[in-house]
């Protein structure tokens, strides 16, 4: 299995992803699965600027990503998937049951969210969505960087 990281991070491709996780996991492919970015070539070019030449980057919609997850998971190339929010995570996991492990890397407070970690704010609805995913056996941990201590969903909530 070479789906090395499925991460929710509202900054999408940024330093923690390409430098922090990139140096640790050495992915061949970074998948930014986001409906808005998939429809915006200008933003795709900007996000691609932050990706080292050794890594490929793709910009599918959530639906397109869901159709490719099995391929990525069984391919020899190492892949990480970046999602912008918990809604996107739920949609992807619903369509791609092969995803069994999820990383919460950064959800910031733009509304009614409650703080759980310095980099993680969740609304009640998002907590409910994560509990549902956990009940299906998906391992959910919060961890901003590879050398940080992972926090389980149980400890988080």
């Amino acid at each position: 299995m070479s789906l090395d990281l499925v991460r929710v991070d509202d900054r999408l491709i940024h330093g923690q992803v390409v430098v922090g996780w990139g140096r640790e996991l050495k992915p061949d492919l970074v998948v930014l699965a986001d409906d808005e970015v998939a429809a915006n070539e200008w933003e795709q070019k900007l996000y691609a600027l932050g990706v080292p030449p050794a890594m490929r980057v793709e910009f599918p919609t959530i639906e397109e990503a869901a159709r490719s997850v099995d391929t990525w998971a069984h391919d020899s190339c190492k892949t990480i998937i970046i999602l912008s929010d918990i809604d996107s995570l739920q949609r992807l996991c619903n369509s791609a049951p092969i995803i069994r492990k999820v990383n919460l890397g950064g959800v910031h407070n733009d509304g009614d969210r409650q703080q759980h970690l310095p980099y993680l704010f969740l609304s009640e609805a998002e907590v409910g969505q994560l509990r549902l995913l956990a009940m299906r056996g998906i391992e959910i941990t919060a961890q901003d960087l590879p050398n940080s201590e992972p926090v389980t969903l149980e400890d988080l909530l």
């Binding site: 509202d10 900054r11 999408l12 330093g15 600027l49 932050g50 910031h108 733009d110």
Partner: protein, 126 residues
């Protein structure tokens, strides 16, 4: 003379504020530059910080890295504000030069900043 350009240093953590403090300490100028950090920000909230710092006038956004959240926020702002230019890879040398050349057009000042900043990176002792 037209109104002096403003510089906004958009960075990870405290990099921007440290650079702005260093410029102040060296030149005594505390009006040319302001710092914006991406600390604790989503894409939207960082965009708001950049917008508030840049205002409506002519401005150069100095970004720390040529990719990532700071560049994204700066590029989005630039797209909506023709009087703004973005320079990635900020360093102290370009900021020190910038504070003394703020009467240029944004594109001219940005080109100068790139030249001065790149020229300050040197291999010493070989």
């Amino acid at each position: 003379m037209s109104k002096a350009l403003k510089g906004v240093v958009v960075s990870h953590g405290d990099v921007g504020s440290a650079l702005v403090e260093a410029v102040h300490a060296i030149t005594g100028d505390d009006r040319a530059l302001v710092a914006v950090s991406n600390e604790g920000c989503s894409r939207d909230s960082l965009g708001l910080r950049v917008s508030e710092a840049a205002g409506d006038g002519d401005c150069i956004l100095f970004v720390d890295l040529p990719g990532g959240s700071c560049l994204l926020a700066a590029a989005r702002f630039q797209r909506e504000h023709a009087s703004t230019t973005v320079v990635a890879g900020v360093n102290l040398a370009m900021l020190l030069d910038f504070v003394h050349h703020r009467d240029a057009a944004p594109s001219e000042a940005a080109a100068r900043a790139v030249k001065v900043g790149a020229g300050a990176i040197r291999l010493i002792g070989e």
